[in-house]
Each structure stands twice: as C-alpha cells, then as structure tokens.
Symmetry: C2
C-alpha cells in the first residue's frame, strides 16, 4: 500500500471495485480516431497510468501513426503523457492549450491539428458539443479521469486540478477512472458546480474569492464507468521559474502603481482579487506582494504556483481560488503536504468553467496580470504565436481574465535575446503579427523599463506613452520614428486614427529573419508589387 | 403644451421645478476643457436642447476651438449634437463609439482623440474613474441627461435609451436634466440596476431576456442637479437600412444553420436569445426570423431597430431586452407609439452595463451576430478601422456579445465595390490589418456565398473552409494560392501553425491603394529592406 492509504480506502463506493482492472486491460477501449477527454490542468490531476502504459504499448508494437486520437483536456498536462503521445504520432487534434517540444513540433509542422480557445469558452463549448459535432455520435468516445477518491454514492473526488471534468463527463459515452494512490486525497478542497447549458444555466453566486457554491465531488453516471485502475504516478508538477532582475523591476513598478491606485481611492487597501499568470514575472509579482504593503489579499486565478505558498506564509494572503494546484514536485508539493493544516482551508479548487468564467471575474473585479510574447505600440498583444505563425502553448486563460478584470495588465521584458544580439528582439513592436488581446482589452503595459498606464488614452497617445515608458532604450528612437512617419503619412491621407504603414509595418520582423536583429537602421523600404 | 403633456406633469418632484431655467442659462456651466457625460445610446435618449443651443452659441460668437470638451457617452448619439460639435471643433476626447462625417474626419485627421472600448467595459471603467483619472477632480464635471419624467422622490425616468446614465451620475459633480416633452414618457419600460463597484458588486439575477431585477427609474442625488430645462426636440432615431439580395442570402444561410442546430439537438426549438447588430444584414436576419420556423423567440441585444417590430408582429417574438429603442423617426417610432399596448410590456430597456454585461449574456447563451468590415482566412475580424487605420464608428458591443455568446457569428458581404472595380474589395483577406475579434472568439462566418462553421477546426482547416464557403469567386483562387504558398513556406521553416508571409500578407491592400483593386495577379513581391 502507498503511504497515503490503499485503493480500497479510496474507493468508498464498493460496487465499483468490481470494475478494477490492470492497466493493460483498458487498452481495448482505446481505438484509433477516438475523441478522448482527459482530466488535468497544467501538470496536475491528469491521467498518467493509462497514457504512459498505452504509449509503451504503441511503441513496443510499432503502432506509431496507427493509433491517433483527438485530445480534449482542460489545458496542458505532464510531458510524460501528451508530449510522449505526440512523439509517437498518437495525436490528431488537440484542444486548447499544450506544452512540450514534440507536440509543438507536430503542431508547427502540420501533423497535429491544434485549436486554441479561451479556456472558459473551451469548457463550455465542449459541453455544447461544438468540438465533437462532426463525429458519428457527436460526443466524446471516452473520458480518462484521475481521481483522489470515490464517495459512497459514486461522486468523484478530484486531485490537484479540476480542469474540464464536469463537461467531459457530460459529453463522454464511456469513462475510465484512475485512482491515484501515490498522492494524498484532497477531499474537501474542491468546489464543484456543473454548469448547465443554456437556457437552463443558473446564477454562479460567487461574491468572494473563497465563496463555496457547489459540492466537494463531481457527480458521475456510474453506468458509464467501464473500468477503474490504480495509478501510482505522482503529478509531474510545474517547475518553479526563478525571478530575475528584469522580473523584479516589473514587480516593483506594479507595487508602485497599486499603491497609487489605493491612494487615489480607485482600489481598496487590500486591493481586489489577484489573477497572476505563470512564469518568472508572475512569480516576481507574487514575491513583490509577499513583501508589499497590502494585507488581507485574495487570489482568484487559474494556477497556483509555489510562490503562492510564500504569499500565504507572509501573512498577507487570506484565500486563493484556482483551477489547479500546480506546485513543483521537489519543493512546492512537499511543502504544501507538510503544512496542509495551514493552507488547505484557504484554497478552493474550481472547475475551469467556473474558475475562468467572466461572471465571477467581472463581479469580483479581478486584477488580471499576464505575460505576452510581445505587445505593440497601440496596446494589442500577441500571446500565442512567435513571429505570428509558430504556436508556443496557447492563449490559456489570459483572455478570460484580461477581458473581464478590474485592471487589465500585461507585463513583459522590453526585449529578448536573438541568436546574434542580446537585445535583438524587441517585445514592443509597431504591430503585433498575431493579436490575441486587443487595444479594447488592456489598461496597462509594464516592462522592466516602466509602466504605461493607458487608461483613457487615444491610440496615438498610448503609442507615445508605451514607447516612452516600456520600450528598451535601443528601440525607443526606432519606434518613435515609425510612429512619426506613419502618423504624418496617415494624417495626409486623412486615415490616421491608428497610423500604420502596411508596406513596412513588419520591417523589424523581416530584418530579424534576414539579419538576426530587429534593430533596423531606418524605415526605408523598397517594394515592387510585381503586377 | 406638447401632445404628450406639460413639463409640470413630467416633473413630479415639485421641489425641482425651482431649478427650471431657459436653455441659455445653462451655458454658464459649460467650460472649456470639461469632462462631460451625456445620456443616450444611438440617436435615442440623448440631450438635445442644450447641445444644439450651445453649438449655436459657439458658432454665433466665433468660439470654435475655444470651447472643447471631453465627451463620454454610452455610444453614438444624433448627428445634430455630437457631429455638429465636431464641426465646430468643440470635441477634444470622445469615448467610446461615434457616428458622423465631421467627427470621423476629426478623429482620422488627428483633431479628436477618440478612445474605443467594448461598451460594457466603457460603462464600468467610467464608473471606476479610469477615464477621468488625469483631471484635477478625477471626476466628470457635468452630466447632461435627458429624461422622460422625474418621480415624486426624484428618480429619473429615462427616455428611449439607458446608455451609461447610472455610471455617469455616479461620477458627475453637477447634473443638468433635459425633460423631453416632445416625446411620450416610457415610464415602466426600463429596468435599472446601478451596478456597484467591486468588491461590493452583486449578482445580476437575469435568467431570461425579460427578467426584471431593478427599478423603473435611476436614483439621483438631487443636490447635484444645478438646472433643469425643457426639451422639445424628438430623437433623430435611426434610419432603417433596407435589406438587399446579398443580405437576404446571408439570412437564408443562417436560417438553414439554425434549423440544423435544432435538428442536432444543440439548440432548443425556440433557439436562444438573439443579439443582432445594426444595418441591412441585421435587418435581413431579423426579417428571416419573422418568416422562419422558430417561435417563442426572445431577444437580448443592445439596439432595437424597426425590423424588431415586424418580428413582434409575426407572432414569433415573445420579448426583447435592449439598451435602446432606436426606431426610425418617420416609420418605426410612430408605429411603436400607435401600438404601444402591443409592444410596451414585451420590451425591457436596460443600462449599457447590464445590457452588454458578460454575466447575463453568457448565462442566457445569446446567439451573437454582428457585421465586421472584413474577416481573414483564420477567423480574425476587423470591426473598426478601414485599411487598419481609418476609424469608422467603433467596436460597439460586438465584442461583449461575441465573446460571451452561445454561438458567435460574423456576417458580411464577400466583397464590396472599390472606386474602379465593383468587387474590388474582398471582405475575406489573408490577414486583417486591424483585429478586434480574434480566432478564439468566433464560431461561424457567413457571406452571401455561404456559411463556414469553424467550430472545432484548426487554423488551416478553418482557412480552407472560409475560402471555400465565404470568399467571392473572384478571390477564391487568389486566397487559395496564398494559403498554399504560406503553408509550404512555414512548414519548411517548422513555424506553420497559422501560416503567414509577412513580406506580402498585405499585398492585396497595397494593390488596392496603387491599382484600385484587391485582385492581384500573383503573390510575387520584391522587397529591399534598404539596410
């Protein structure tokens, strides 16, 4: 037995024990071309025993390319599952967010058909049947759901994430459960609402980050459960991204900004619920809050990382709501387990369709902060496609929070290194080659250089401020010159609300490809349309 | 007295009658540089007596350019007010949506600083103080509010629209009321909720389009009311845009699509609440519904046009919720008045911050339909800037509805005439030069050519389908060739999730400027970066 108890302890609905099978016996349910729904959200709470064993099976039997699936999962999951599947050519379609080298290669070389969607929309649209409408049944063929435990009545106690489990169960014809005995049960941490489809959808009565409006388990139609397996695989968890000088500077700009908003009476002293993305900047911001002047904070977000434990320990954070508890395997998770009494009651895990739902986000007035690939001078942001064409991970929940938050903030370093120039890539460009968040969505842009508060500004005033406050000094004159010549040209033609010159708006990107840097010498450009 | 009763009948709070003044006496409250909040939403319910008289005053006294204001209004209002002000150089800043030749000229020539925002966000952000944060008081200096009547307790009964009146009253230091006796009182049609700011915001318990959760009047701090004037100016109203062959074809595609969704069980027989934009396509769609197979329909939208009366008369529409009743002056409005008993109880007018709020829109599962300037092959849409730089009107509520609806639909003709070619402008392009709605937001694109159901499709599959179903036949081969060469090139470089070629993505637009048509002969392009 595991240190966390036996399988029999976990499966309290004894009639289900008859469905317990060895992992290999579930392979019969996995057929080429199937639509699969998995639990999981970030490398937390995802099925592991079957995906890993089935990948071994495919590899051993040379079934690469003969067993391909459409994967619908709340977000990315551990690399040992979806990325391994990608490496074995086992993924046809993938929605809506992923991580991993092999899966990214498959997507960008055209072997994997990825669809990218706001996470809150993904969950609801999956429940509407939009993604499975072209399959013969119109449904998901099979759900693979990791659970912590099963209640006497057959309710599913989830693990470290809630993901899109309610919608997946709603849409799945068959269900296989993985009971994870390698991790402790988190029974009581979840607040599950199964959001009905319109016209029967109900009010979500969340008025504080820690409001509880549902049950601790997900109701499940047990007649669909075809098998149960025991899993002894712990979550991979999310490695902690250390902050750096640039991230710390961004955090400091934000703390100043919040202090001023409190002073001006636009924010309460304990701010408003915080949403913070993932990565080094997000960790620096949470680190800044842990040393900052604000108390009685709350968090309403989609991923809790290690840094959130520091914020709890600082005595400044009262409670946190999230879709997943994505702590690092070696540090964060052991620390959480060793101090469960301190953290457990302060954390609420919610399904994606609730955690990212515009209704609570707008009602609570969340302070939304996310990191894009780049922003442009008019305050559009690219969160997904490097160079406008190459998929990294996906939009995730950034749009859910930025579109509905009280303050809508993007933070990014002002530049990144290219292969030939340490600041060869500017993260502030004339025009983003892919736009995930528009000028209508964002309030503030922050880089290590400064914070541009764009609230209330018209596009050209925004552009001047973003260049002045946020651009790297190497690019300020280049961007200023572009704004000036584009404005002069567009005014002359009386088309200058948001000046751009389409013969050279991407000159910096073209120069990066040709010369390894975005530091262009001038804005001249000779074009022959070859007509 | 007017045929609709005297001013004394309307002002039931008798203490306020002492503040009644001739229009000219309000000019003392209007000072250069002020932040003004106006009632109104579309040419309905906006202040007219003072704006018109004050424009006369400015013109007569040669004060052009010496009396400039920042105008914050729910959306556009009648041309005789804001557009006249623009022609007299009386507008510095303008948020968030406008119509009129002079105001558009001012914006695109750099004389008027317009800010464009999702309407639901505009209302809330105005109430948060975001737009007035740089003024000395941080507030609106003056509100001009048109009312139908004033209750005994001083509650404001609004007119044909609710606009952003609750937020404007919240933020205004002084208030002037225009009591409109040239139009009948619509007392009882409004459902007013003053949405508190976070962290005190409450649930909006709207579960059907006609749910009533508020009061029939807007509460008002009477101590701020500095003057009341009588207005005898009727609304300009919105001229009815006749449908045409192309619009009718779009409507027919949509009716087929809805029928199939009902058949497949993804939509109830009475559909879900309809949101429909403005213009000839919207009118054709509503016309299609009036002859269609769906009964017990409901509407949850931001503007009700004449065609909605036809839908009521068809016996198919049970109720309609909107922010404004924007009927044509000569036909729609008289028809509405002559049949008040038939329509009145079925219509609910709500403030912008409720009509366009993500919470009810997502809960109700609204079917959102709007017309962009153009869409691109990957399902991004441009709703605001012709050629990516010239402002037309603004994003309006399209984003509020498309981001939160059940079905998110964009409809447009497949092409428009240029000066030299009757189909010289394609509305399906490789890449929109301005993006207001992203690939993450939209489900279906419809032109007179057909409907592309992009739900569940990856970008390249979406592109093929949109070209096949929606592009004008003249452009199909051109767009197909672009997709092919962009895909081949990006796959070769392993960057092809969403293939684009930045040296020529805007070749069609550049050719339009140079040769008067977007029908390019090939995708060749010679570029010299002049480095």
């Amino acid at each position: 037995m595991s240190e966390y108890g036996t399988l029999q302890d976990r499966v309290r609905c004894k009639s289900l024990l008859s469905k317990l099978v060895p992992v290999e016996e579930t392979f019969q349910y996995l057929k080429d071309g199937m639509n699969l729904g998995w639990s999981g959200f970030t490398p937390a709470g995802y099925p592991k025993a079957i995906p890993i064993a089935f990948a071994d099976h495919v590899e051993k039997n040379n079934l690469q390319g003969k067993m391909r699936f459409n994967l619908f999962i709340g977000a990315s999951v551990g690399a040992e599952t979806e990325d391994r599947w990608a490496s074995l050519n086992m993924i046809d379609r993938r929605w809506p967010y992923q991580t991993g080298k092999n899966i990214a290669a498959g997507i960008n070389e055209g072997r994997i058909r990825m669809g990218d969607k706001h996470l809150s929309m993904f969950a609801q649209d999956l429940g509407y049947g939009f993604y499975t409408k072209d399959s013969p049944t119109g449904r998901l063929d099979l759900a693979l759901i990791e659970v912590s435990a099963i209640t006497e009545e057959g309710g599913l106690i989830l693990g470290t994430s809630c993901g899109a489990v309610p919608e997946i169960l709603m849409m799945a014809d068959k269900i296989i459960l993985e009971v994870n005995t390698a991790m402790p049960s988190l029974e009581g941490i979840h607040d599950i609402v199964v959001n009905k489809n319109p016209p029967n959808r109900e009010v979500l009565n969340i008025t504080k980050a820690n409001s509880r409006i549902g049950t601790t388990y997900v109701p499940c139609d047990l007649s669909k459960v075809v098998a149960i397996v025991e899993s002894k695989h712990p979550d991979k968890g999310r490695a902690f991204a250390d902050s750096d000088e640039s991230s710390d500077a961004i955090a400091a700009h934000l703390m100043d900004f919040f202090s001023n908003e409190v002073k001006m009476g636009r924010l309460p002293k304990n701010l408003l619920p915080i949403q913070s993305g993932v990565g080094s900047i997000a960790n620096a911001v949470v680190g800044g809050l842990a040393k900052g002047p604000f108390y009685n904070l709350s968090v309403y977000t989609e991923v809790l990382q290690d840094s959130m434990l520091d914020l709890f320990d600082s005595g400044r954070l009262d409670c946190a709501s999230s879709c997943s508890l994505s702590l690092s395997e070696k540090e964060g998770f052991p620390r959480f387990l060793a101090n469960m009494d301190k953290y457990f009651d302060k954390i609420t895990l919610r399904p994606l369709s609730i955690a990212n739902h515009p209704e609570p986000i707008r009602r609570l007035g969340v302070i939304a902060m996310n990191t894009p690939i780049e922003i442009d001078i008019y305050c559009h942001a690219n969160s997904t496609l490097v160079g406008g064409t190459r998929m990294i991970n996906g939009i995730g929940g950034s749009g859910d929070f930025l579109r509905n938050g009280f303050l809508k903030i993007m933070h990014t370093p002002s530049s990144r290194p290219s292969k030939t120039d340490p600041t060869g890539i500017t993260c502030v460009v004339p025009h983003c080659p892919h736009i995930d968040h528009t000028e209508h969505d964002l309030d503030c842009v922050v880089t290590e250089q400064g914070l541009a508060d764009c609230r209330g500004l018209a596009p050209k005033d925004r552009a001047k401020l973003i260049i002045e406050k946020c651009a790297h000094p190497d690019y300020k004159p280049i961007l200023t010159e572009y704004l000036e010549i584009a404005t002069a040209d567009c005014f002359k033609r009386k088309v200058g609300h948001q000046p751009q010159l389409w013969d050279r708006a991407f000159k910096m990107q073209l120069n990066l490809a040709q010369n390894g840097t975005m530091k262009i010498k001038n804005w001249d450009m000779k074009i022959d349309l070859c007509e």
